[in-house]
Amino acid sequence: MWNYEKRLQYPINITQPNAQIAQVIMSQYGGPDGEMGASMRYLSQRFAMPNRQAMGMLTDIGTEELAHLEMVATIVTQLTRNLSMDEIKKYGFDKYYIDHTVGIWPQAAGGVPFNACEFQSKGDPITDLFEDMAAEQKARTTYDNILRLVKDPEVADPIRFLRAREIVHFQRFGETLRILQEQLDSQNFYAFNPSFDAPTTCPPCAK
């Protein structure tokens, strides 16, 4: 269950349209390391987590990723407001425009559509948490790359916020992995699937 809150997690007000920058930032909506993959990854993986701590972390970070998805879509929307046909052609936005006008659709910067194969939900919590940590760093690198291309402070400011959150999430997933490993046999972390082969329990759900 979710409730909508009528505000962005971090405010965005872009006054200068820029179709070229919109096209690259779009990748963080539906690209390989984008926020759609992030939210779907965590909100799917949580069902197979072996303890309530990990279930909570994946739920809460997955929820925050939905807010980030909305922020990225807002940036793209505001960057493509009031574009002239000349600007659309000049900045190579015509290929996107022909299929979506200036609507929001999940694709990578290179035009590859969003695909569920951009994330995994393996049903194995150790495997999934390692993927989650890698995913946060891949998204951070993408935001680094965006920041090297973007000079408009109205765009760079919310991108910096999103980048900073990737680092916090990496830290929290690292803690979640450590807490889970503390509940397992330290000589045998990686040999089996703790959710399927040897379910762990923890307070307050300990038997």
Binding site: N3, Y4, E5, K6, R7, L8, Q9, Y10, P11, I12, N13, I14, T15, Q53, G56, M57, D60, I61, E64, E70, A73, T74, T77, Q78, R81, N82, M85, V168, H169, R172, E175, T176, I179
Partner: protein, 103 residues
């Protein structure tokens, strides 16, 4: 607590963003440090500030959440009368702002 009644709409909105972010961030910390008393106190304090600010915003400017929509002193459905987050500061209304077809 700050006197919320004296804040302008944009000041109150900024304040809501700030205290809400404090709540967002401490929630994740508490998920991995559930017994940290300092973090729990921080959560309680900021959660209360956030709820009070959301109520005050709904009362004066319209609701940001469905749970505070009931507080707006109006007979109309304020939920759709206030702008949506992606509209930004530079436009006052939505789809019809250019009121013109293809050029």
């Amino acid at each position: 607590m700050r006197n919320l009644c004296q804040l302008s709409q944009s000041q109150l909105f900024d304040y809501i963003n700030k205290v809400s972010f404090a709540v967002n961030d401490i929630i994740l910390f508490l998920d991995s440090h559930p017994k940290n008393q300092e973090a729990l106190a921080y959560f309680h304090e900021h959660s209360e500030l956030r709820n009070a600010a959301l109520k005050e915003y709904a009362r004066r400017f319209g609701p940001l959440t469905i749970d505070t929509a009931n507080d707006a002193a109006s007979n109309s459905w304020e939920w759709i009368h206030q702008k949506w987050p992606w509209e930004g500061g530079s436009c006052s209304c939505g789809t019809m702002r250019n009121d013109c077809s293809i050029r």
